[in-house]
Symmetry: C2
Subunit: 542 residues, 2 copies
């Protein structure tokens, strides 16, 4: 055996801690005048983006921000939020992008828990933030983003400084702080937390870098793609794309208010080739009016994640000219790291068979070293039979550093050397994972486990059903019984009886919803249906 380590140590020539900030620096060097970030009439080149980030970072440092500090931001997908993904970590600080749909109480909780030193805030959210700050009982630096596009109906200025003037306090020759260790934290993302306080998920520079390189290969993202930023950047740092897109010197199209009309308009105007969104976005697209729909003349690739999308949506999107891939991930895994990768062997299947496959969560990204369905008690993989349920377990460099200030939850989530997703799934014989339910969403009726997703997927095949969510309703006889909440397609109608009859055609009797309620479904800002709200309603029914 040779000693392949002797006199072959790391040094500053051959070892540099990974950080995605280097992607922006490089792209600014090589393609300085290429359009980078576009938002309405504002167009920044890659050099401008880099220079703005450098100056903002410098200004932050002037105001005392340093290694390990938290800088929070509350903004929609506008250039300032994109820039914060670089300017904040350039100082060694940690970016905390806050969900813009949160209530003031939760915002206060986050600012307190994260110990934020700065809050950058878009004027549209001033009312909420003012309340949140009142309860914080602590003075922090507030920087206003004075965007003319914001809905300012009840906002007034609350910050000492405005974003642009703050930025101009910075020096353009500031030297950004490369992390000394790639394990250094880069961002802090609070989970939406359906119950209890949200948990703070910590990402590091290494993971953010590897998420970028892995995502590009997984989704086959080419250099210089035109990306429409429909996925909120406060959600898993927008799937880490602010970093990926710099690596690929892409053109990034920002969007503040997501409507079907605006999506179609921007796709045409900027020849958008890629975008992503929760099924709620796809739903908006396929249900848009004929006058809003402008099917693109070029190929558009779409990623969809969050809630498992009903298979019918794939079909409808395809008919409009979109190629949709289903992906899966969690805040704890830097966004998605499973993909329903298409295999050409399936090209000749029927549409229904294809749709069935497309609804699977799939296989791991190149940056994900392990993705298994396991029995959480024994930590053994379940048989690959497409039937046996287990929990999705993930291992790799794209699993979070842990939950901030929560040792117990961190240890619990990574028990046994795998990250426990909390999602129940089966493993198909070909190695594709399919979610059957969140642990807490399973309905147990007469001792039988019922997957709410199976019922939902059946219901949305009914031509009048746009969205369906099924939860457990307490039942005297069976313990629990399925109860469905349904959104209808605009201008279509259906009765409870009609839909129950429709379900009965394909579902086992005990899986057929006992009750159907027509209403608008409550959703999180990322488009996830809030089943805990529906469970409350279902209980009240009795």
């Amino acid at each position: 055996m040779n000693d392949y380590n002797k006199n072959l140590e790391k040094n500053s020539a051959n070892f540099v801690p990974l950080t995605p900030i280097s992607f922006l620096e490089r792209t600014s060097d090589i393609y300085p005048n290429y359009e980078a970030v576009i938002y309405k009439k504002r167009i920044y080149t890659w050099k401008q983006v880099y220079e703005r980030c450098i100056k903002f970072a410098s200004a932050l440092e002037k105001h005392g921000i340093k290694l390990g500090d938290t800088v929070s931001i509350m903004a929609p997908n506008i250039p300032e939020l994109f820039e914060a993904h670089y300017s904040v970590p350039m100082t060694g600080a940690v970016l905390n992008a806050i969900n813009t749909r949160l209530d003031s109480k939760t915002v206060t909780y986050i600012l307190k828990h994260a110990d934020s030193k700065v809050l950058i805030v878009d004027r549209q959210f001033h009312t909420i933030v003012k309340k949140a700050l009142r309860d914080l009982n602590k003075k922090i630096l507030i920087i206003d983003i004075d965007d003319k596009q914001a809905d300012l109906k009840d906002s007034e200025k609350i910050g000492e400084l405005e974003y642009e003037s703050f930025l101009n306090e910075g020096k353009s020759n500031y030297v950004w702080k490369r992390p000394a260790d790639e394990w250094q934290a880069i961002s802090l993302n609070y989970t939406s937390g359906t119950t209890g306080n949200p948990k703070g998920v910590v990402y590091h520079h290494r993971g953010a870098y590897l998420m970028s390189t892995g995502s590009a290969a997984a989704w086959n993202m080419p250099n210089r793609l035109n990306f429409l930023y429909t996925v909120p950047m406060f959600h898993c740092n927008g799937w880490c794309y602010p970093w990926t897109l710099a690596m690929l010197h892409a053109r990034v199209i920002c969007i503040r208010n997501i409507t079907a009309r605006e999506i179609f308009d921007l796709i045409t105007q900027y020849k958008v080739t890629h975008f992503g969104g929760a099924p709620i976005i796809l739903n908006m697209i396929v249900n848009a009016t004929k006058s809003e729909q402008k099917p693109p003349k070029h190929k558009v690739y779409v990623l969809t994640a969050a809630a498992p999308p009903p298979s019918i949506i794939f079909k409808k999107m395809e008919n409009l000219g979109f190629e949709v891939m289903h992906v899966y991930g969690l805040t704890e895994t830097y966004g998605h790291m499973l993909q329903c990768a298409w295999n050409t062997e399936w090209d000749n299947l029927t549409d229904d068979e294809k749709a069935e496959i497309n609804a699977r969560q799939g296989v791991r990204y190149p940056n994900t070293e392990g993705a298994e369905v396991m029995d959480p008690k024994t930590m053994k993989a379940v048989p690959r039979d497409g039937k046996t349920m287990g929990e999705i377990m993930i291992r790799g460099n794209i699993v979070m550093k842990g939950y901030f200030k929560d040792k117990e939850a961190t240890e619990k989530s990574m028990k046994g050397g795998w990250f426990h997703s909390g999602d129940l799934a089966v493993m198909h014989p070909n190695g594709y994972i399919q979610i059957k339910d969140r642990s807490k969403d399973v309905i147990i009726s007469g001792g039988e486990n019922i997957s709410s997703i199976e019922i939902e997927n059946t219901m949305v095949k009914h031509p009048s059903v746009s969205l369906a969510a099924v939860v457990a309703k307490p039942d005297e006889k069976w313990g629990e019984a399925p109860c469905a909440f349904v959104e209808l397609v605009p201008e279509k109608k259906a009765s409870e009886e009609e839909i129950i009859t429709f379900c009965r055609k394909t579902l086992a009797g005990f899986k057929v919803p006992k009750k159907i309620i027509f209403c608008e479904l409550p959703k999180t800002s990322t488009g996830k249906i809030q089943k805990f709200e529906l469970r409350k309603k279902a209980k009240e029914l009795n």
Copy 2:
């Protein structure tokens, strides 16, 4: 300041040492039946490649191969060499792919220096290897590759075992050894060494992984590309593409004997989209006869590296339908990590201006953290004026671990925290690097530095000149004077006088070659012209 490290340690869920072996495992899982490696009538799917590697690794382990051992291989670009990039490191051992054009003395030196435990050898090289083994004075395990395509005219069996039967000794359920540390050595590549003994460049798993992800983005390599493997895999592990191509589940077309006819045939047969090669390969393509040339109907992307290619070759390749990008790298940097990335702002330049730009070495890959032209004494960057000469210095995770068993050379090469390339270059105002010469290739005439490359680039513009190499000839008056060696285009003629007159039109008088010799140029196996041979000849002229 927050402590973003407290209770947020690495564990086996969130930290996995990087290794490119994981790309093969993943691709085999996801695309088991996709064609992976094609060589004549042999076609292996990704699952088959993975299984063959697993079995070969298992067989190696049975024969005692373990962490830190060296396994050598001497073979052309055939499936066995591709597989060795996985099977050998799967055991924890280090792959040493030997240049197939070396003389037996050098092979003996390498086997001794690397302390190889095994040598896998293609029968075509048995004569050389037999001699090398005789001088080795040590018994090592020899595995024959009995390829029917090999030129076997003077070979006999020398190994105890043949590749396929050795492989079949292995177990198909062998569990490959993931490196405990990503800094673990993965391969050992000896530099061609124009003088003295070759140096052993050590690569590690981290670098090989990052080379793969960075290359894919740099060259915009899509998933499932069709890659023709014209670049020898013994050269910088074939630019690390055996790993990159698995990540992209590409189709890899092997080629043993490189001829223009075979290149064109394979491009057509397999719809080859990408290949790479030294300018010697491009030269072969553009100078092929009309009957050999089958210009492809689809777009083919070509990388060219090694010697800086004369600009005229770009033009000729483009006319045949190839899009060539010039890249630059060294064995010490895992292959190329500079690229002459095209900028659309140059689209409207004249052909000559375009060719001028294309001859530059360019800008860094996304995996390269620093690429500068510096004064090696002060380690300060030279002005970006396109004139001031300095040495190309590289920093990043794609710089070698060091030279094996050569502390002094390792330290010297990475002095001051940068890898010293030994290439002299200028930095253009737009940040593009252009090589002017190897340190030792500069001609100093009457105190003036003359770039041999500038003269060569001028000479090949002459319609009869195919290749030109300029070296210093001792000169009584000037100290040194340029002396040119020239290969003519087949069936074309030119006199010494004619070419000198041609040079005088554009070159300063002192740069015009004093002497021109028509002959076949001596080249290394990777197509680099061996200037040290020419320098010897030039001396003898006096």
